[in-house]
């Protein structure tokens, strides 16, 4: 007997489309241009000697107003990779959820994880799916980074709105403050010998620069104890950088600049 459902493959999204089309997120059929909604601002990633770091500020804007002061924009997707989001927060968070589930679903059905390349391709596909919504004003700009166990090194992928997956970079940043953060990383990044401490300082400095120049990027909110999100991806997995370490990096950066 055939079990319920028509779909027999290993992709969760394809499964939804085939057997539960009503549950497929559809942001593309409305014009959102006149609607105020949450927007995430700056996320960045860089490679250092033992892996990769991904960091993001915590501010979400709603038009010119503060939407949320403590939004998370850097998400752990599985044991080896993270996704950072900038742009329309609603569809972006949905994309994170879908991407995580897609990788988990594949792993459970097939009994092994997708290759790093395979994961990046799935994300590219998700972004392309969002194209109709992007044309209606819901642009999502993800950043993907992780430790590729097969290659034995960390890798970062950047994407454009069409899902185009572009040459890997050693550092990148996206979102409203992305350009400022990138300019900062360009000066501090070293292709070799970057230790963890130095890499965290570079990430924090880039976020401070972005917050300086871009009104939509938040900084350290010392009064409320809200600090940037910062995650490490190494061969032993994904972990959060503790707040004390972020504060230390901030002190170092500010002292260097004599602020």
């Amino acid at each position: 007997m055939n079990l319920p459902g028509n779909y027999r493959g290993s992709s969760f999204i394809e499964f939804l489309k085939a057997d539960h089309p009503d549950l497929v997120p559809d942001f593309g059929s409305h014009d959102w241009s006149s609607v105020q909604m949450m927007h995430g601002t700056t996320v960045l990633a860089l490679v250092y000697q033992d892996g990769a770091i991904m960091a993001g500020d915590r501010l979400a804007t709603e038009g010119h107003a503060v939407g949320t002061r403590d939004i998370e924009k850097v998400f752990r997707i599985d044991d080896s990779c993270c996704m950072g989001i900038a742009g329309a927060a609603g569809p972006a968070v949905e994309m994170v959820r879908m991407f995580g589930l897609e990788l988990e679903h594949f792993q459970k059905l097939e009994g092994h994880t997708l290759t790093y390349e395979g994961k990046a391709n799935r994300l590219s596909f998700l972004i392309r799916q969002n194209l109709p919504a992007a044309m209606q004003g819901l642009v999502v700009m993800p950043l993907f980074a992780g430790f590729d166990a097969d290659k034995g090194r960390a890798r970062i992928y950047k994407f454009d709105v069409t899902g185009g997956r572009f040459a890997e970079t050693d550092y990148y940043s996206t979102g409203s403050g992305g350009k400022d953060a990138r300019s900062s990383l360009k000066k501090s990044f070293r292709p070799t010998g970057m230790t963890l401490g130095v890499a965290i300082e570079a990430a924090i400095e880039a976020l401070i620069d972005a917050a300086d120049e871009d009104t939509a990027t938040g900084g350290f909110d010392l009064a409320r104890g809200i600090y940037p999100t910062c995650k490490l991806m190494t061969k032993s997995g994904v972990e959060d950088v503790p707040p004390e370490e972020l504060l230390r990096a901030r002190e170092t950066v500010l002292a260097r600049r004599e602020i």
């Binding site: 079990l3 319920p4 679903h105 009994g111």
Partner: protein
């Protein structure tokens, strides 16, 4: 057109049940046991590629004996159903009882409606801080809720004798692994010895965050058996 032969429901049921039982009897058993760290599930499996034990969701594991293609289809159905439920509601809303019911309905329907019944026996385990669950589902959809330990396939009377005698509340993972091995060995007494190098062992580790399913690699199993 000839008149179809009349077969009484009792006769039909008996024939099919016998057919299914014969198929299942060829497989080697699986045991699952409560321990201080969660649940340990063990099967003897000579294949490294074709698994008998697998992850369904955060706290739920699947294991089965019988015909591989049939239980593999049921396993995949379970993963799809669980992921769909978690996606449309929340991860906490995915529970073993629901999945076990689903399997029971499916197997019951297949048993009465199809040409041939599925030759499988399924065990759905769920780790929970209050009470672990074991649902055993037979080829005809019969579902049984077990406590503390459960098994499918093999000589279930012998296995249960061992488990009943030696299972203790709060036993360590190593003790549970050794008990599982001894139960499987006892079941095998009629058909040869247990090959300790061919054990497939997985745990639902209640100490882990999120997805609690983990396979134990051969060295770990060796260590726990020797401990």
């Amino acid at each position: 057109m000839g008149t179809p032969f009349y077969v009484s429901p009792e006769q039909m049921y008996q024939d099919r049940a016998e057919y299914a039982r014969k198929g299942i009897a060829k497989g080697r058993p699986i045991v699952a046991i409560d321990n201080a760290e969660g649940i340990v599930i063990m099967a003897e499996n000579r294949s490294a590629g074709l698994r008998k034990i697998a992850e369904i969701y955060d706290c739920i594991a699947f294991s089965a004996v019988g015909k591989f293609d049939e239980y593999e289809n049921l396993r995949k159905h379970g993963v799809r159903a669980a992921d769909l439920r978690g996606f449309s509601f929340s991860r906490e809303d995915v529970v073993a009882a629901n999945l076990a019911n689903d399997y029971s309905t499916l197997l019951g329907t297949i048993f009465t409606r199809e040409m041939k019944p599925y030759e499988v026996e399924i065990l759905v385990c769920e780790v929970n801080p209050e009470r672990n669950s074991y649902f055993q589902i037979l080829y005809d959809g019969t579902i049984t809720d077990r406590r503390h330990y459960a098994s499918v396939g093999g000589d279930s009377d012998e296995i249960h004798k061992v488990l009943q005698e030696r299972w203790k509340e709060g036993m360590s993972l190593a003790e549970a692994v050794q008990l599982a091995r001894d139960a499987l060995t006892r079941s095998n007494n009629g058909s040869g010895t247990l090959d300790e190098e061919c054990l497939e062992v997985a745990v639902l580790d209640s100490r882990r965050d999120g997805r609690k399913f983990r396979r134990l690699v051969r060295d770990e199993v060796r260590g726990l058996l020797g401990a």
